[in-house]
Symmetry: C2
Subunit: 310 residues, 2 copies
């Protein structure tokens, strides 16, 4: 199989690790994305990672990078990068190949994470897999018939933009009632503040992170409890539609919100079951992501090794 450097390029930090057989042998030092001034510093930092993990003496066969935004994995070009201005239309694959001499694979971050979870994580036994990542953005990716489904413009899997109410609140790209407008981190915090206010309790957005709301619900706070129930219903309703269209065998849910465990998984599973036919939900597994923060690193590295024929 060989060993590859996997890089999970996030808007906040760039995480990396040397990966073999789906396991991280050791991590590279995290890089603060916003500390890099512009495109050249980011590229220098990525190249420096190769030298850094190379010091451990392992041969690096390839580099795989997962990036948030519109990534042309076939042409090797990053069209645009979420939260990183100025990183548009960058032929990242060619640049890094020239600087390092190694084969490079680039992919959308949600697709890389899904690939990691499918090959080595929570969806290991799946053939038709839907992955959702819950964070500031709500992303997703599909493995269909044992292959990563990228779609016509390589843009498939955007479950956060699926609408659950066609007359709902407008979201980005002109869609109404998108899932992200309900279950994105920012929206969750805003809804919590509003509901606490209605219940006569003043809370700030900063006091309403998913973790805060999880602790509150588990401590018996009814506002938080009801909010998790609603979040689970909304996410479950969106996933029920995906189940009707895709008929997956496995749904993997990852990201910060998914760490709330049964607070969210129970209503999600219940809603999917209630809104789909027994024959298509009977053997459906709805499970939390298993690789945690390493999913993107492992998925990117694995895609790179496969592309390099290793």
């Amino acid at each position: 199989m060989g060993t590859a450097l996997g890089i999970d390029f996030g808007g906040t930090s760039i995480k990396s690790g040397l990966v073999r057989d789906g396991a991280v042998l050791f991590h590279g030092n995290p890089i603060e994305t916003q500390a890099c001034r512009g495109r050249e510093e980011i590229i220098d930092a990525l190249v420096a990672l190769v030298g850094q993990v190379g010091e451990h003496g392992e041969e690096i066969a390839a580099i795989g990078i997962g990036l948030p935004g519109l990534v042309d994995s076939v042409g090797g070009v990053v069209h645009e990068l979420t939260n990183v201005p100025g990183f548009d239309e960058v032929p990242l694959r060619a640049i890094l190949h020239e600087r390092t001499g190694l084969p490079v694979t680039i992919e959308n971050d949600a697709k890389a994470m899904a690939y990691g979870e499918w090959k080595f994580g929570a969806a290991r036994d799946g053939r038709h897999v839907v992955c959702v990542t819950l964070g500031t953005g709500v992303g997703g990716a599909l493995i269909l018939d044992g292959r990563l489904h990228r779609g016509a413009q390589l843009g498939a899997g955007e479950i956060g933009h699926l609408s659950i109410d066609y007359r709902g609140k407008p979201g980005p790209f002109g869609n109404f009632g998108c899932l992200e407008e309900y279950v994105g981190n920012v929206q969750i915090a805003e809804r919590a503040v509003r509901r606490y206010g209605e219940a006569g309790t003043a809370r700030t957005v900063e006091e309403c992170s998913p973790l805060d709301l999880q602790k509150a619900a588990l401590a018996g706070d009814t506002v938080a409890w009801k909010l998790w129930e609603d979040l689970g219903t909304e996410l479950g309703a969106a996933l029920a539609s995906v189940v009707w269209v895709i008929n997956p065998d496995t749904i993997v849910i990852g990201g910060g919100v998914a760490k709330a465990g049964e607070l969210i998984f129970e209503p999600v599973r219940r809603t999917i079951r209630a809104r789909t036919s027994e024959i298509i939900n009977r053997d459906l597994r709805v499970v939390p992501a298993a690789l945690g923060n390493d999913a993107g690193i492992i998925g990117s590295a694995t895609l790179a090794l496969e592309a390099a024929g290793r």
Copy 2:
């Protein structure tokens, strides 16, 4: 390629034809489904079709059948047939093979139609294709990465059960706000009757077929015009969600309602464009089905020829 008998098994009538190179050489006599008393008479009628089309002297290499309902195309079993009671758990492939000596392929009817449109009809140039059929039921099927996508329980493509309003009207299987509850033929007629009533005009359901409403709208009837606009928005909103998740290059819309042409296609295209990002809708084609009533016959026959290695 060879020649196959394609059979499109409908709740009202069973249509058939001898197919070569994606064209129907001649049709079999239509059979009234409800005139057949029970399972044995249906099977006898299907077997009789082989003799009937065989009289033309063409060699028949295989039989392909598309059926409405839950069809196990891999195991060759019809689990249940929409609108045909008593036709449950029928190992139709084995039965017809034994009676005719020919290789038999069975498939869900929407998938067979989609396959026909993809191989020889409106989606001929597509690689990622979404097909929707609008009738009493709203069905669908997906061709992804150049292959028919069946899903884990072979139940994929049920776009009629996708919800456009998670708090909407309950539909079959417990889902709320399913597309079919908006744009199914029965629902369209009921909505038209209600809206005409509100406008002070008495109409019966029988006077509100898709064709009646098409003629009315084209004659300047504002109730009918507004209804088509709403139907297009609802269908377009559902398809926008499908576009975000699947990222297709082609959407084919067929069935009775699709015959209304631009009355429905214009608002559908406008809504998809307004609710998706430019990069994923720029090259998207949204087109009417091209094979008409022969789509299921041609698709079933083609699937049968391919399965027989012809």
